[in-house]
Symmetry: D2
Subunit: 341 residues, 4 copies
């Protein structure tokens, strides 16, 4: 039996409490939140859970084996560090920390104490992304030419981070998981709509060694919710649309080949191969259930998480560099040293 403490019962916390609560041999022992109304909700729904205002009471609760950090991004480092220092395993919501230095410090702390440090890159655990990873790993797509993600909606402008840290973090986590290569350069441009806030709209570009491109459009000021990714391979291409109810992943048997025929007078056309489209069946397990299950398994058996601190660090490093680039009208920033690309 593992006892989990959850820090933060805002947007994502309730889902975490529910999913950990549904696991066998796991109990949620304590929830911390600064807002009394939220704690009242916890008490009404789960009268047996201890509710506290300050996260320290969870971090130092002797009954707690592991802490789940679902507080605002700016507090991730402080809560996670205190929990690790108190000897708890830690699962942190994305992003792992607010700076790459903080992320590295958390990794050190966890390594030294032989504790599990996992970051909740939820999308990595979805059936859609798992299937896409299989397709890429089996070379079904051929060379990856580009990865283009659009993630837009109206609302939830956050005061503590810009839109990249909120929305693009998901796409960077997916790319880190499924792509065979790491980017060497990042650039980004953004738009601050309301004075005193961060960028609400941003475009982030990644360059890869083999000339491939990664691009993310993250937008809090869009009239419609879009979650749509194109992945171009030399052999096959994917449209991954997370707003679709069932056919989230579509694999197009389409590719290119240089036409070797005689030159056209006006233009030389590339020959395109167009074949069938296949939408594979995806299982319907809730991804967060798998996140919770995987974290508990890592804690129980001392395994390394699929989305460990290093993964979290790489994503934070790109976000940090992108934020720098945005401050400088889109100047490219090298990731070579930091990502070892």
């Amino acid at each position: 039996m593992i006892t989990v403490g959850v820090v933060g019962y805002g947007y994502w916390g309730p889902n975490l409490v529910r999913n950990f609560g549904d696991l066998a041999d796991v109990r949620v022992g304590a929830v911390a939140d600064l807002e009394p109304a939220r704690l009242a909700t916890v008490q009404r729904r789960y009268p047996w859970i201890r509710t506290v205002a300050r996260y320290e009471e969870v971090a130092h609760d002797p009954a707690v084996d592991a802490v789940v950090v679902a507080s605002p991004a700016s507090s991730h480092y402080e809560v996670a560090l205190a929990s690790l220092q108190a000897g708890k395993h830690v699962l942190v919501e994305k992003p792992l920390a607010a700076t790459s230095e903080q992320a590295a410090r958390l990794i050190d702390e966890a390594t030294r104490r032989r504790l599990v440090l996992m970051v909740d890159h939820t999308f990595v655990y979805t059936s859609a992304v798992r299937r896409i990873k299989e397709l890429i790993a089996s070379d079904s797509l051929g060379d990856i030419l580009y990865y283009d993600a659009v993630r837009t909606n109206l609302g939830l402008v956050r005061r503590d981070v810009n839109v990249l840290w909120d929305l693009a973090a998901h796409d960077l986590a997916i790319m880190d998981h499924i792509l065979p290569r790491r980017p060497h350069t990042v650039s980004a441009v953004g738009f601050v709509h309301l004075p005193g806030t961060h960028e609400d709209i941003a475009y982030l570009t990644l360059l890869f060694e083999n000339r491939a491109l990664g691009h993310i459009h993250a937008n809090w000021l869009a009239p419609v919710k879009v979650r749509r990714t194109l992945i171009g391979g030399s052999r096959r291409m994917i449209v991954y649309d997370d707003m679709e109810v069932t056919e989230k992943v579509k694999v197009y048997d389409r590719g290119t080949a240089l036409d070797e025929g005689p030159d056209d007078v006006y233009e030389k056309l590339v020959a395109f191969r167009t074949g069938d489209m296949l939408a594979p069946r995806l299982d319907v397990t809730e991804a967060l259930h798998l996140v919770a299950e995987h974290f508990v398994e890592c804690v129980t058996h001392g395994r390394r998480p699929l989305t460990d601190g290093e993964v979290g660090l790489r994503v934070v490093t790109i976000l940090e560099a992108a934020t720098q680039s945005m401050a400088d009208q889109g100047r490219p920033v090298s990731l070579k040293v930091s990502l070892g690309a």
Copy 2:
């Protein structure tokens, strides 16, 4: 009665011949193309049209009043210049020319000779774009925050130009027409898939004085055809999807306002106003019919075209600067002098 000569009977030429042929008081007198098979098609369909191989025979045909240039982009300048020098009015397919210098030279020539020089920015004449322009002009959208266009499909990789000159040119023409401001800086990154060709995928970013952003994703290597534009206003927002059969323009009564309430413990949310969505009825006249009609009217009555040489020059200037930026990993290029922004 005006007699038109058409140079180039490839992809777009047949549509031009058909649309000019449908106008009253206009006849298509001659068509030039280097490919005999295409000329044979013209003769089968329109036995009365004179067909010639070389464009000079159209440019110097005394029966021809105006020349429509639908040859490959790299030849626009040469054909248009020769036609103007022979005293003909000229309608050029987009882009107006291959360089801003050439475009300026064509403007000079037309001005000096008091001839009409028009560029076929077809989308400007669609009912969708005309309606969007009305909405912006009437301040229905409020301040324009961003313009985001995606234009992708598989195929038709051109040898003579990169994907921006082919696809993004449409979006730049639309932006030039509907936006109240002009951009001061452009940057772009691109991906060359096949050695010896130009960029097949490119992302172009425009910065405007009031911090607004323009962004275009142009892509010849996508598995699906997308023609989708988001226009964010402070008061209303638009989704313009040209692949929709009837509801191409959707106006969302959505905007933002900084919430002045007490700070949330974790995050300060911006308040969003969400209201109805309206898809205005659009008329169904073929845009190219209006292009042809407008050109003939300008020729007949000596009017200045809506999409004159100056518009064509501005679009070419941005494309030229974007191509420079792409060659330099996305370094921002100033448009201040050239566009007078």
Copy 3:
């Protein structure tokens, strides 16, 4: 404080328990279900709720004020009747009962005892249907010409009822609520795929006094989930698509008018007016929350429910007649006497 007992914790029961549990001044006191595993789930989630196997223990529980019947359709009558006879107010899942005779008997019992009898026609409480009712009531659509509903998906073939009692019941409830007239005749054809089961696919047709048509396609054997209704008015028309995330209701400013011009040689065309399309903003309150709230309000203040026993009886009467018609290859069955149309 009202105490509610819930009979049946299968597909819909958990949603009912959750929604009644979220209301102020309401507590769920007891849940009955024949399956021990389901009761175990109740106990894990809500340790304070009394769980019992037999519905009689809920019906006769002195602490219970009202019983919610979410057991299989074939048991609705028995459970509801016992509850009414024990002096409890009753909310029954649709359909109210398995026969019109049973439904009438329940109404009598409730009337005599002055108890609330409400049927959970959930869709009537959705923001989409409420908005459509407003549009029809305000004569925004003009005369209603037809109501066409498609409700298909794969799965959940029920043993105890045919597809009409399961799926078409929703559409009949909506029609009863929003249409100004009642049907006088029903016919239906169906298809039994698996021997020993009921119809999996059925088409139900309703005739109205003013010649208007109602039609429902209900299908458990479809590859895709469809929830799509067309409502044709002489002035405006509606597409109501419940699978859409946000734009569930689209109002088309389209209608007809007989063209009074000179006869065409070949065909006389009706003139169509086509205008804008408007998708009104819909609020996002969960409909079942409103159902629970409305039931509690009726119980507390002795009000007549919007979806009372009479409504439930009318829907059952049509389902009964349609089942008859299906058994007879689609022979029309008159509803005149029973519905008083």
Copy 4:
């Protein structure tokens, strides 16, 4: 070289003239239409085609080998019969004739004179329908359980026929072509919106020997254009959506199997197999081009058309019986004798 005469230059005639004109070894020699404006259009587009007002001049034109009948449905019989009697091969737009008696008479005439009689069931020649036929013929779908077609739009209410003869005729032609069995009974209900016109909305149901169902919703008064067919097989199911640009046919690897496990307390569920979805690549040849080509091939080589007079007669027979059924509130009408089902 075959010379074709076309009677009727209204909605479909121009497409026929264009497609026959594009074939090698075929010339369009004459076009008849009662409207002078239409003939003027023919003359402007094709100055070499003889234009006449009366169809008899085409039917008796010695230069004409075959007559294409694209006049209104009510005149098909007269024009086709006169043409056959004048020794011409005949291609008739659907429906073949206004009554089954007329259709049978045309078949007799053609048979006796050894002339080709073909009906233009265009959809049979589309790549989508051809692919669906292959899938059914190869038993890829298993037993066909139902065929459900929706064909709606706003407009073009015809004076001479009801909506079934106009829209449902397409679906009946497709069903006749792809389904392994013929229906034995038809019923239909319809709605006449405007006095003095025919039904604008109709639902047609077909019963097959193996209990399978066919159903068509045809509607001229719908706010949106829908062309969507579900085909349910015991092994696989198809969604055929003709409004899709590229993925018109989607094959779902979904089927049913009676779950043989222990009875659930409340309901016995059928087990469903859900697998991948495949959208096969379809070629893009215009179907009408194949119609024209096939007709010319049949004329040239004396072949029997895929859509011969017998096919046309079967479709007319069903339409006739459905119209009867509509006049009688949906009473089922037997097709046994007439279709030999």
